[in-house]
């Protein structure tokens, strides 16, 4: 069992070959979690019997006819705790949803279940996915497997750390302003945010509906591509999900970058970019050039406006999305006799400071008299940003740049919310434009991983993955294992 494979593709192959069983993989996953998670805190909830039953069912299918078993049959996976799984506690990292067990399953999760996956547990995250360090979780921060004194990034920090620490080969995260890509970069794994509308948001506890997108985190681009393929596609339960056909990213994954034109946006290499990260990304660009790609400097002039645009639109939508948490119908209730006091006390006790801050920001931005100055203007800038990307994509096939301007930082570094928001500067424009973006490990800076971001035009998800895969296969960064957590566990 010690020789059990770590990657998703490896697990799938071994299960089919019969060299490992679903029960064994589940057991190994649980053993890793038991050994490492007291330090990492990647998991908020385990699925227990549910996982045992799923593994047993997978083993029966595999025993009957491995060839016709569904694609992920018997593979352990983890879900960010903003994704609903029927009967399993789903908190979104918030006290206000403590004890909430949804009577329904998110479409993306259901598709993984249909593909035979075994859900091991729900992963920790910033409260309602609001944060870039996982320090905003009501259930304690996640720690970076590379250095337990540092953050894993956020908000899908638990999903990134669980994959980095080899607790599961695949996890689902969500990305509203970088929440898959940034923790993937900081934890040294692959994280993919698909085109907006490509993966159903049904059953995803909303942060900002026009930006939220579900996506996979894995050890390799191939694994992420498989995870993506299984969850992508139209869902009649999500009115914003696209009806266009999903291009299989696996068929052309190995076609390389020969002849592709890659844009390097100069605004993404500006002030605030860690010199070590810059050097790592520049070396990565050289690798891509060596593989036959043409690099071209491009400009996205509104990049500096993206952050403020994002921090108006996302809180505005959040202020509305979070109005339903009133302490009456689900989750926490701080009963204070009168209805109004119960509302006030529940929301006061249930929401953390960052969530309250964004509710207030968003409420203000939508208020009569301020709407035009903030929300409407932000929507206009959003359109402008989108158009700039479209314009650039007339000249280049994809954009390559850093994912995060910094590597994993020590817990408590950014006590000022604004300095934390600045960390999202390279990821939020991609959400505002609804584009697919993947982060792939591209080097080590002071013993910590750095990430290369590949951004493609809308619905060119397969192209983003193909470029990331070409780079990954030419390097060995994705094979490195975090030592920090192993040392702490022994």
């Amino acid at each position: 069992m010690s020789a059990a494979p770590e990657t998703l593709a490896g697990c799938v192959a071994a299960l089919r070959a019969g060299t490992v069983s679903a029960a064994e993989l589940l057991e190994r996953s649980r053993a890793r979690i038991a050994a490492l998670d007291p330090q990492v805190n990647a998991f908020l909830g385990r699925t227990g019997e549910l996982a045992d039953r799923a593994a047993a069912a997978a083993d029966r299918l595999l025993a009957e006819d491995p060839a016709s078993a569904p694609p992920l049959c018997g593979v352990p996976v983890a879900l960010k705790d903003v994704l609903c799984l029927e009967g399993a506690e789903t908190t979104a990292g918030s006290r206000i949803l403590g004890g909430f067990r949804p009577p329904y399953t998110a479409t993306a999760v259901q598709r993984l279940l249909d593909a035979g996956a075994v859900v091991v547990g729900k992963t920790n995250c910033d409260e309602f996915a609001m944060g870039s360090s996982n320090e905003n979780s009501a259930y304690g921060p996640v720690r970076n497997p590379w250095d337990l004194g540092r953050v894993p990034g956020g908000s899908s920090g638990g999903s990134a750390a669980a994959v980095a620490a080899r607790m599961v080969p695949l996890s689902l995260g969500t990305d509203t302003g970088g929440s898959i890509r940034q923790p993937a970069a900081l934890c040294g794994v692959v994280g993919f945010k698909p085109t907006y509308g490509r993966v159903s948001r049904y059953g995803l506890i909303a942060f900002a509906s026009s930006l939220d997108q579900v996506g996979p985190l894995a050890l390799t681009v191939e694994d992420a591509a498989l995870g993506y393929l299984l969850i992508a596609g139209h869902d009649p339960a999500d009115g914003t999900s696209s009806r266009s056909a999903v291009e299989d990213p696996l068929t052309g994954l190995g076609e390389g970058v020969e002849g592709l034109r890659l844009g390097v946006p100069r605004e993404y290499f500006g002030v605030g970019l860690d010199p070590g990260v810059r050097a790592a990304v520049e070396r990565a660009l050289e690798v891509l050039r060596g593989l036959g790609a043409t690099l071209e400097e491009v400009s996205l002039p509104s990049t500096d406006a993206a952050l403020s645009t994002y921090y108006i639109i996302a809180p505005a939508e959040a202020s509305s999305n979070l109005a339903r948490y009133d302490g009456i119908r689900f989750g926490l209730r701080e009963d204070r006799g009168s209805l109004l006091q119960t509302y006030l006390s529940t929301r006061d006790a249930g929401f953390g400071p960052e969530v309250k801050r964004r509710i207030m920001l968003g409420t203000y931005a939508l208020s009569s008299g301020y709407y035009d100055a903030y929300y409407r203007k932000a929507q206009k800038v959003r359109t402008l940003i989108s158009e700039e990307f479209s314009h650039v994509f007339e000249r280049v096939d994809a954009i390559v740049c850093p994912t995060s301007p910094v590597t994993a930082f020590p817990l408590g570094t950014h006590s000022d919310p604004l300095s934390m928001y600045l960390l999202d500067v390279l990821t939020v424009p991609v959400n505002l434009a609804g584009l697919p973006g993947v982060s792939v490990p591209c080097g080590m800076v002071g013993g910590l991983p750095a990430g290369l971001q590949v951004v493609a035009p809308r619905f060119m998800d397969a192209r983003a993955l193909r470029i990331a895969h070409a780079y990954e296969q030419a390097t060995e960064w994705h094979t490195l294992q975090p030592g920090g957590v192993e040392a702490a566990a022994t």
């Binding site: 329904y104 998110a106 049904y202 506890i205 900002a208 009115g239 939508e317 339903r324 689900f330």
Partner: protein, 500 residues
């Protein structure tokens, strides 16, 4: 209108005579639930009156975390149908917006509605009132979702010891029809509402139930010196759940506003509720307390592009509307305007009439019977003809007997009454019971002679010139034949004998 004002201000204890000649300006906002099978944004049944509390709910209409709305295509179709029936323009592009406010009957904390790009704009509704043609503009017809319902142990939420929430109504498709402030009296307001309700029921989008609230109305009322153009201070009136309540509330409010101004006071923009028991409106909320709904485009729904083809398809399927249908029936069938209005009151009624005429009953006979005796029975028994025991088949048979002269109208009316609920074949019954009309001149002649002998006073009066005196004599013959005598023939025979 002056009379109206006097009455209402008398109720207020005012003097009743205004120094300035005021004109009322009234605009109505109607909310009508759509008769779709499922709710606006989920698959739950849209019926809620019969259901047990919270039976017709799901995670979507309960606003649970992570759930998403999906637009009900039929609801959009019904709204477009309504908009076309009200002569509206349908823009190419429409979107939903969120209207944010906090109330326990609103599970998401916002209502999915429409703000600046409604489904339709710029329509109008025209109707006749007291011989005048009234035209009321329709600002817009749009689509939103209804809220749940609250049941308080106490009067209102704030003072209730406890409250129960039923989300069966949550998410039921709700159409908002905003009228222009083109109405000038309570009578016009009531007529507008009745015509609007008739049209909605005609086109099959709403059941028109004011009591149960599937058709609800708010009124915006202001006054201004007659002849001026500027609008006065607007007061919104809520809580009216009958046509009569709308008329009374608007009358009251006009009088109240005039009384305030006449008394040297000033009006302020507010929302007032109609209290039926007191026959008065009372202040609920001033402009300062108005909500800031923080509208913004609903990010969970893509904008809607209907397309000319869809709109044309709906337009083609639009049924003939009541006014046009009445005009056609007058023109084609030669029935009276009164009959036409009665027969086209509902689409089902008009359809039934046309089916009966289509089966050979003459238009005049069908119109008379349907507009009088059949309608009276239908109302008394709360059962339309087509659902009654007699049915259209029975009525066609019965009217056939009348038109052929087989039975007289007295017999036919008695049969109609007898068979309306119980059912039965009129032809067989007339044959079996020997109810056929007696039109034998010899047989009737003998009875007529007997009647003359038995009613000397009436005969004398008639011969002295009193026409109506003949009735008891005719009645005598009818009684002797158990109503089966051909009344026209009896009359003729009588007159022949008495004039001779």
């Amino acid at each position: 209108m002056t009379g109206t004002l006097r009455d209402a201000s008398a109720a207020q204890g005012g003097s009743g005579e205004s120094a300035v000649d005021h004109e009322a300006v009234i605009g109505l906002e109607v909310h009508a639930q759509l008769l779709t099978r499922s709710k606006m944004f989920c698959g739950c049944p849209a019926t809620y009156v019969e259901a047990e509390p919270n039976d017709n709910t799901c995670p979507v209409c309960l606003g649970m975390p992570g759930t998403l709305p999906v637009i009900n295509r039929r609801a959009v179709e019904y709204t477009v149908r309504t908009a076309l029936a009200l002569n509206c323009v349908i823009p190419d592009f429409t979107k939903f917006d969120r209207k944010n406010y906090f109330y326990p009957d609103l599970p998401k904390g916002y209502q999915i509605s429409k703000y600046d790009l409604p489904l339709s704009v710029d329509g109008h509704l025209e109707f006749d009132l007291d011989g005048r043609r009234v035209r009321c503009g329709i600002t817009r017809v749009h689509l939103e979702e209804d809220t749940g319902t609250l049941h308080h142990a106490g009067d209102v939420l704030q003072s209730a010891t406890s409250s129960l929430v039923d989300y069966n109504r949550s998410g039921v498709p709700l159409m908002e029809i905003v009228g222009e402030p083109d109405l000038r009296s309570a009578a016009e307001a009531k007529e507008y509402l009745e015509r609007l309700r008739q049209i909605l029921m005609y086109i099959g989008v709403n059941d028109g139930n004011l009591e149960q609230g599937s058709f609800r109305c708010d009124a915006n009322v202001s006054i201004r010196p007659r002849g001026t153009e500027t609008l006065g201070v607007k007061v919104e009136i809520k809580n009216m759940n009958s046509f009569r309540a709308v008329q009374r509330a608007v009358e009251y409010e006009i009088a109240r506003q005039i009384a305030v101004l006449d008394g040297g006071g000033s009006l302020h923009q507010e929302t007032r509720g109609w209290v039926e028991a007191r026959g008065a409106t009372i202040s609920q909320r001033s402009k300062e307390q108005a909500h800031d709904y923080r509208y913004f485009p609903e990010p969970d729904l893509a904008p809607l592009v209907l397309g000319a083809e869809f709109v044309e398809e709906v337009r083609r399927a639009l049924p003939e509307l009541p006014e046009a249908r009445a005009a056609r029936l007058i023109e084609q069938h030669g029935i009276t305007e009164g009959e036409a209005v009665l027969l086209t009151a509902t689409r089902e009624q008009a359809d039934s009439y046309e089916r009966i005429v289509g089966r050979g009953v003459s238009a005049g006979v069908a119109a008379r019977w349907l507009g009088n005796d059949v309608l009276r029975l239908a109302n008394a028994d709360h059962l339309p003809l087509w659902e009654s025991g007699l049915g259209e088949d029975g009525l066609v048979a019965l009217l056939g007997l009348v038109e052929a002269g087989t039975v007289n109208s007295t017999t036919a009316k008695a049969l109609l009454e007898e068979l309306y609920l119980a059912g039965g074949d009129p032809v067989a019954i007339v044959r079996d019971r020997g109810l056929g009309q007696v039109s034998d001149t010899d047989a009737l002649g003998a009875l007529v002679d007997a009647a003359i002998t038995a009613n000397p006073k009436a005969v004398a009066d008639f011969q002295a010139g009193k026409e109506t005196a003949l009735q008891p004599v005719v009645g005598h013959v009818m009684k002797a034949t158990r109503g089966r005598a051909d009344a026209r023939l009896v009359n003729r025979l009588l007159r022949e004998r008495l004039s001779g």
